[in-house]
């Protein structure tokens, strides 16, 4: 099994290549997904703040 890890002596080249490839793949799966969740969460917060402001009767407050 060990010679699999050695990659015929080229381990120093093959593994970093695969690592970089997988890192990019994973990043581009996670980052956009988080972006969507973060945007939704931010909008929820803004909505909740607007409701809170509306309920406390501060009518003159301009819509943020």
């Amino acid at each position: 099994m060990t010679d699999f890890w050695q990659m015929g002596g080229y381990a120093l080249y093959v593994w970093p290549s695969y690592a970089l490839f997988l890192a990019v793949v994973v990043y581009w799966l996670v980052a956009p997904w988080l972006e969507v969740k973060r945007t939704l969460r931010k909008m929820k917060q803004r909505k909740r703040r607007q409701h809170a402001r509306a309920n406390t009767g501060e009518q003159h407050e301009s819509q943020a």
Binding site: F4, M7, G8, G9, Y10, Y13, V14, P16, S17, Y18, L20, F21, V24, V25, Y27, W28, L29, P32, W33, E35, V36, T39, L40, M43, K44, K47
Partner: protein
């Protein structure tokens, strides 16, 4: 047939339909990607035989070549959706074009690094002005140009249209740059050793591994692109009523 395609095309143009449609598609693409990626890695690392010339280091090909194809494929897709955005003034097409750029740049960057890692044992240097690596480098510059232009203009819609136009100019120049570099390369050093062993005479199981990995990158791009566009739709359509409803439930 043409009528339904046209209707479908315009329907997809509306951010709301695109958001729902992509939402349904992403899970399937994700599953397909996981399967093909696992299978591809298994094939390329374990099943595919050792290359009689380069030994094990040729296995880098299974990440290098698919990434190179993706870098090119995404640029062309970016230019096409840019053209749609410019001609039909479709907001979604603008977002698709702009979302393509960073993903394409990432794949091109992977191609460059894996190319240099693959070339090191063979050429003894980290960078060789080999025709394909050089044109990959300029492809990366074209991507950086589009992303830089988009970031430099304040108004989102105007920035997207300017970047889309630059992508069009880029895609027209892409083959010109590529073949000039290839021609220039043969002029200066004569044909360097063929870095990428041609797909045609590859051992069948090598070719299979390569194709599976390519499929995996296509599925991955699908998920990444659709998700990025969904994020942009939410940000840019935050005022729209359907987005507010989305936020409520």
């Amino acid at each position: 047939m043409w009528k339904t395609l046209k209707r479908w095309f315009h329907q997809l143009g509306s951010p709301r339909t695109f958001y729902r449609f992509s939402g349904a598609l992403i899970p399937w693409l994700f599953v397909a990607m996981v399967i093909t990626l696992a299978w591809g890695l298994y094939q390329s690392l374990l099943v595919a035989p050792t290359d009689y010339q380069q030994g094990e280091s040729y296995r880098i090909l299974y990440v290098h070549v698919p990434s190179a194809w993706m870098g090119l494929f995404i640029y062309v897709l970016m230019a096409v959706s840019g053209l749609i955005a410019l001609v039909w003034r479709m907001k979604v097409a603008e977002m698709v074009a702009i979302a393509c750029a960073p993903i394409g740049a990432a794949y091109t960057f992977v191609t460059l690094v894996t190319g240099s890692l693959w070339g090191k044992p063979m050429w003894g240097t980290w960078w060789e002005w080999d025709a394909r690596l050089t044109s990959e480098l300029f492809l990366l510059f074209l991507y950086l140009g589009v992303m830089g232009l988009y970031a430099a203009i304040e108004d989102r819609r105007k920035a997207a249209r300017a970047a889309a136009l630059l992508a069009l100019v880029g895609v027209v120049n892409l083959p010109i740059i590529h073949y000039s570099v290839v021609w220039w390369n043969t002029l200066h050093q004569g044909a360097t050793v063929k870095l990428f062993s041609g797909e045609s005479h590859m051992h069948p199981s090598m070719l299979k591994a390569l194709l599976i990995m390519t499929a995996a990158t296509k599925f991955h791009f699908g998920v990444a692109l659709l998700q990025s566009v969904r994020a942009r739709i939410l940000q840019q359509e935050s005022k729209a009523s359907w987005v507010q409803e989305l936020v409520d439930d």
